[in-house]
Amino acid sequence: MMLGAFEDSELEPNEMQEVAFHLARCESCTGILADYSTLGRDLRSITAEPSLAGFSSAVIARVDRLPMPVFTRIARALRRQLDSVGAGLAWGGAAVAVAVVTIILMTPYAEHFANRAPQSTVLAKAEPNPAAATNPVVDAAANEPTMADNDSHADISRLESENRSVAVWSEPRRDTTVIWLPDQP
């Protein structure tokens, strides 16, 4: 048994050395060892390498025909769902990003237009109070409720026709003072 393992280099170093010393003075064992070596070569020579053409494709064809286990089917369905949810999330995210950018870009313009409209309303509402005809400085807090119901264009035309002096509108709640100068003739 030691000779075969020696031939295969599968002994411990000290055992290898021991067998080597023995072989040096034993013709019989040297002959056996030579036969083992020849036997190995002969075995390799008679073992023809089988043709493996089409082997892997035959295996894959069999694998593809296998019924898919329930667990695998569920896992694949979940993966497909996750993929579609992921795509939906991506589109949603893109839409939100576009909306945010649009809001950021449009906000200054929106504020501009939003601020202009109340000012004109305030100006229009500032003068219809009969008291303002004699006294151009009008208390905004006092006038605001009554003016809210009036027609702005009518107020302006009345103001222009009755009194062309300067009107000052002060609104403490908005921290705004409006100075109105009517067109000069």
Binding site: S28, I32, Y36, L39, L43, L52, V59
Partner: protein
């Protein structure tokens, strides 16, 4: 002849993809190990058609059981083990030979004549090849597997021990028996 098993990142990824049902990834693994898997099966059954059929079955079984494969061990050894088990089962099912185990095998070894002296180098090659093939047929699948895995596939004793799932000492004793048996037969051919 020696193609040591690889368990690198590439292989781990191929195994993982195969687990998820990617048969193309599994095809790469088949290409990588097909020759040696056939070699292992051939070492046991000693018939090319049977060996190729068993090798295909080995890969199909491996694919079905990839979830059971633990990456800590070598994928190639796992494959060879499946191949060896399938081939030995096949051989036993066919009932062509009596399988000797443990003490029975040792008794058979002791019955063999202790041949010494002249080598059989001078025997004609064709005669020797024919007799060697016949002698291999006469071995049990376990003994034939051990000697062919060693001599043809170039596996170490530890690899053979892993693939055939037997102790290293058993590998050594089977190898000794197979060598002694083959050598004896070939000596007879040389003598006749």
């Amino acid at each position: 002849m020696r193609t040591p098993g690889r368990q690198d990142g590439d292989e781990a990824e191929l195994i993982e993809r195969s687990r998820k049902g990617d048969s193309a990834a599994f095809g790469v693994l088949v290409e990588r190990y097909q020759r040696r898997v056939v070699g292992v099966a051939l070492a046991v059954v000693h018939n090319q058609d049977d060996a190729i059929e068993l090798a295909q079955e080995t890969f199909v079984r491996a694919y079905e059981n990839l979830s059971k494969f633990e990456s800590r061990s070598s994928f190639s050894t796992w494959l060879y083990r499946i191949a060896a088990n399938l081939a030995i089962d096949f051989w036993r099912r066919e009932g062509r030979h009596v399988v000797l185990r443990g003490e029975d095998a040792e008794i058979e070894i002791s019955k063999l004549p202790t041949t010494t002296g002249d080598s059989f180098k001078e025997v004609s090659r064709s005669e020797l090849s024919a007799r060697l093939k016949q002698a291999l047929e006469e071995l049990t699948p376990e003994h034939r597997a051990v000697i062919l895995l060693r001599e043809v596939e170039g596996m170490s004793y530890d690899e053979i021990s892993d693939v055939l799932q037997c102790p290293r000492g058993t590998v050594m004793s089977r190898l000794h028996y197979a060598r002694t048996h083959l050598r004896t037969i070939l000596k007879d051919v040389a003598g006749s």
